[in-house]
Symmetry: C6
Subunit: 267 residues, 6 copies
């Protein structure tokens, strides 16, 4: 079944950089000091992997609320590492495959990486890779066991590897032993008021007087939700206003912005 599954694997992923760039379509804006600190620490791990002799495998988990920017951060680290092998393993490219085919794909990426002296593998949205759902809970133990072994198995002699995982279900992952399996875990947080203000300033869609009020209302919001609300608000109350906003001709009406915010935030 497994051998068969290996053959079922589709042609290799597209050029990996494209694959990574797609995870940060809007580019990366400055999200405040805490996000920056995370980036720096992660880049230190990249350095460590480059020179390590005793620890050929370093593993790092990025956890945090949905939409807080974990995948974008992981992709950025991958791009900035300049490692010869950087791949992202994501449920998106494995829709509809059987558990064993998914395992085979995952193993294949690791085997490919083992051939490179320096490699980064991003396990994106591990709960989705595990087909996790909170009721039951249910998940694929086959994939779970496969990842637990891969996170512990050292690459062959002379090859060093960094594995970055992302998840918004850290409690679940902990309960199936993943947190112990990663060498280190970082929390990727939502935006606080001052982080949100920084982002809004860069987006430049509010009148200067409205930015503080808007930022305050966005306190504790993940960056993804911030983008959704801003875009909704940019349409204006009757639609059609986006062009003017993005070209800078007009600014978003602050009260309409609060309306949109109310729609998105469920009570």
């Amino acid at each position: 079944d497994f051998l068969h599954a290996i053959q079922e694997i589709r042609p290799a992923f597209g050029a990996s950089t494209d694959d990574l760039e797609r995870r940060r379509l809007n580019g990366m804006v400055d999200c405040g000091d805490r996000h920056k600190h995370l980036y720096e620490r992660a880049m230190l791990l990249v350095e460590q992997v480059k020179v390590s002799r005793g620890s050929p495998l370093v593993t790092c988990l990025l956890e945090g609320p949905s939409g807080s920017g974990k995948t974008a951060l992981a992709a950025t680290i991958g791009i900035d590492s300049d490692f010869p092998f950087v791949k992202i393993i994501s449920a998106e490219t494995m829709i509809g495959l059987s558990e064993s085919s998914k395992c085979a794909q995952i193993v294949k990426v690791f085997e490919d990486a083992y051939k490179s002296p320096l490699s980064i593998i991003i396990l994106d949205d591990i709960e989705r890779l595990l087909e996790y759902v909170g009721i039951g809970p249910r998940f694929s133990n086959l994939i779970c066991q496969t990842l637990l072994v891969l996170l512990k198995r050292p690459p062959p002699k002379g090859k060093n590897m960094l594995v970055i995982g992302t998840t918004s279900e850290v409690d679940f992952l902990d309960s199936v032993g993943f947190c112990d399996a990663f060498s280190i875990t970082y929390n990727v947080p939502t935006l606080k008021t001052w982080d949100a203000r920084k982002v809004l300033q860069q987006l430049n869609v509010f009148a200067p007087d409205d930015i503080d009020a808007a930022a305050e209302a966005l306190n504790d919001m993940p960056i993804k939700k911030l983008y959704v609300i801003v875009e909704m608000a940019a349409q204006g109350e009757r639609g059609g206003g986006a062009e003017a906003i993005y070209s800078g001709k007009e600014k978003i009406g602050i009260s309409h912005f609060f309306d949109c915010l109310g729609d998105v935030v469920r009570p």
Copy 2:
């Protein structure tokens, strides 16, 4: 199994507009301000998708009690959007298929939609798509995972998509992570007394003096139940009276109407 399932897919759906029109056989009557507001908000999302550059995928969930008009509203938005690709994914057309065949069908609709610059996909009765039943609870995790990935995967460059889901089991959907997966969620409510009165006036089957009493009795009723009761009452106590009522020659007897209402509403 999955590849095989893809081939098992039956010929493409019929012309989609027909498919949408079937969801509102009786046309759309005015159901009051709250329904109207929902329609307008949803049409704003349609506008947003048309012009968006940064958010190629917008997703919106319509939830509410059974028979409150969610599917009819979604179909209406699809029809009024004038998008080149509008399809409804419904359990009706997938009776008896295996989980993996259903997944393959669903994926196929998304793949087709990705070829269109602007598309709307309606996921009708998501709990039924998921084969959900409250005891257990049981549901198809395979379909669940497939939808969760599709609701997050952006369409290819240059293509924008709106996904509208409907459900009367919002608590279940929340517990398996769907509410987080949708950008925005709207509640489609039952009719209040004043909404029911508006509908009854348009149907014109009660004597003017009876409309207020009838509307009051129908408070908090979903529109579907309203139609059932009116039609039962229109038969008259001994049957055969419907013709006269619908042609306007006679009106529904208010006391017989209350009898029918009692039959339908279980204590």
Copy 3:
């Protein structure tokens, strides 16, 4: 699997009227006012389906204790409707079939019915169709989902359909969403003392002086149990007495009757 299952379907049911008549082998005796009222209401639904334009699908559930006469009532409505298509879907004819074969059979009956301008489908003993058992509880979710969709899917344009379900496990059906799925639900009750007296008078196997005592003892008994007890009692204490009783030559001994009643009613 499903397509294969369709071919596995055995030749069409026998002439449907035979099939219906078998459900009321002993003919129909007058069981009192409450049963009569149910019959009349159900026949009004038959009328409604005949003339309806806006509601091509009407669905009605008959629930009540085991042996209270639900199947006999449904069969009688089917026979008295004079609709061109009347079929009963029952577990009896599907013994030993797989879940998917049963689904295929059920779907086939609906597809056949869709070809008739007016049709009645009786879903007899829905809990048995669902392979329900109280421990677990267990049941076939495949059949459950199939029925839930069929109970909601309107027939093609110009075709009207009445679906009558029967069940003695209404709480279970409610918990898997069937009660919401039916437009209307009627309770078929056991016999009260006066109903039982009416039935006994028609059977004419007791001495006139004994009928009241016998009827009182049968209070709250389903009609099926009443028939069992009467037949046991008719054998007499030493057997061989039935002939004389049914030919009217003798009457049932009331004290022997009470003995038999004690055997059947578990404490």
Copy 4:
């Protein structure tokens, strides 16, 4: 699977009377008034089935503790009925078969019986037929559903059938709906002191003076255990004594008998 299973069925059972006689190898001794009453009542049902016109199917469940004589009683009724078709359905002849093969076998016996004007089917040890085990609890729902339908489906016109079930797990059977499915249920009890005395007198292995003490000690014992203990005691303390006891030359030592009793009855 089911059709295939039918072909897997082994050649028809041996001559059924042999099969029945094997269930009462030691013949039938008089077990006291309560057992006798049960036999008489059951034979009345046999009479009823012979002459019934309105109830072609009569079903009767014998329940009671393990080893109380249910199977032997059912076999005796079958033999004494003189019906042309009497068959026992037992797990013994279906060891190792799949659930669906067992169902096919069971259905086959019913189909064969339907061809006979008068038939008796014994469902022996229903919990074993259902592959029941108390932990879980687990059992075969496939076989369960099959039996539930067969216990309700009337034989064809002109054919009358008596079904006798036996079980020592009546609470379980009740919880899966079998008790409702049988027309009538009888309890087959353990032996009381006076019943045991009657049996011991017939066996004639105790000295007259010891019989009362022995019978008292056997109060509330199923007949099967009584036989086991008597046979153990008949070996004597050092073995080899059985011949003398059974030939009547010696009697069982009462104190050795109490020793054996203590071994068998777990505290």
Copy 5:
């Protein structure tokens, strides 16, 4: 599946006596009065089976803590019986087989035994035959049902059989109905101080003055653990001392013995 499984059966077991002798590699030492009494009682059952006419099948369960000597006792009874057919059914010879293959093997042994006028079958470690594990709990219901039927099914006319089961999970076996299924159950206990002293005297590896202290420390120990500890202690503190001990030249140091005991007994 089952028929297929039968063919999968490997060639018949090796000569059965070898198989039995392997279960008591170290011979049988005198373990005290309680073990002796058990042996005698079991040999009485052997006698009973030899001469029985009314009870062709006698079944006996040996239960007790892990390592208390149940298998060795069963094997000894088998050897001492001098029956023409004595076989042990053990999980050891069925590693990796499917449930149905195991059933087929078990049934095969019974069928073979039925051909012998006198036979003994040892069901060794029934919980392991049932693939039991305490979490869940899980076990094979297929094998469970097979054994339950086999423990009740009498051999053919003229053949007598003794079945001896062993288990250290008597509570589990009770909960799945095995204790009721065996005619009789004996407890095989751990060693008490005086039993242990007897065993140590026979082993002759302690100085006479140390035997009492050692025996006291071994109170309530199963014989298997006693052997493990003695052998560890015989190595001496620095290894290499075993030769001298077993040849009788030296004795085990009592304080080193207590050290070893501490290692084995988990607090």
Copy 6:
């Protein structure tokens, strides 16, 4: 399935010593008295197996927190034993195999070992071999049963075997009966302050004055975590410092070390 699985087995493991050496890439440093005592006791078992006649199979479980050095210790014992057959059974070499293939592999290693007069088998990370996950909990009962039988089955005459198991989930193993199955269980502990100091002295990467503070902070740390933190700290705050540290030119900054420690230890 199982026979098939055997053929699926890949070519025999590489030279076993390589396999063992990979488990202690960094060599073995002195971890303090408690680790040393464990090593000595285990080597005594090796001696015992060499000379034993009565106990051909000795089994020993090493349990302790994740990363405490269990596998390295087991590998070292295997290497130092000088036995002709030493193999490690690990989930690493069985990724993606089915349960039955894994069983077949495991059995194969035991069968191979049975051919050698003296053998050691290391069952590494038994919970991973069992595919254990804490939620549920779930695990492979097939593999579990296989191991339970293998841990009890004596090798053929004249062959002696030592089985060493490792686990960090001793409570789980206990609950499925593994602790009873092993003759003896040793706990491999984390490092206490004085153990950590010993290790740090050997690594020689801290200034002499900082060693005490560092060791104190590492109290109760498994050796694996100690290595991770030291290596992170060796990069220095801005990266690139590792070379200088390992060559001895510089020492790790103690405050940067505390920073790294904080990252790794989740609150």
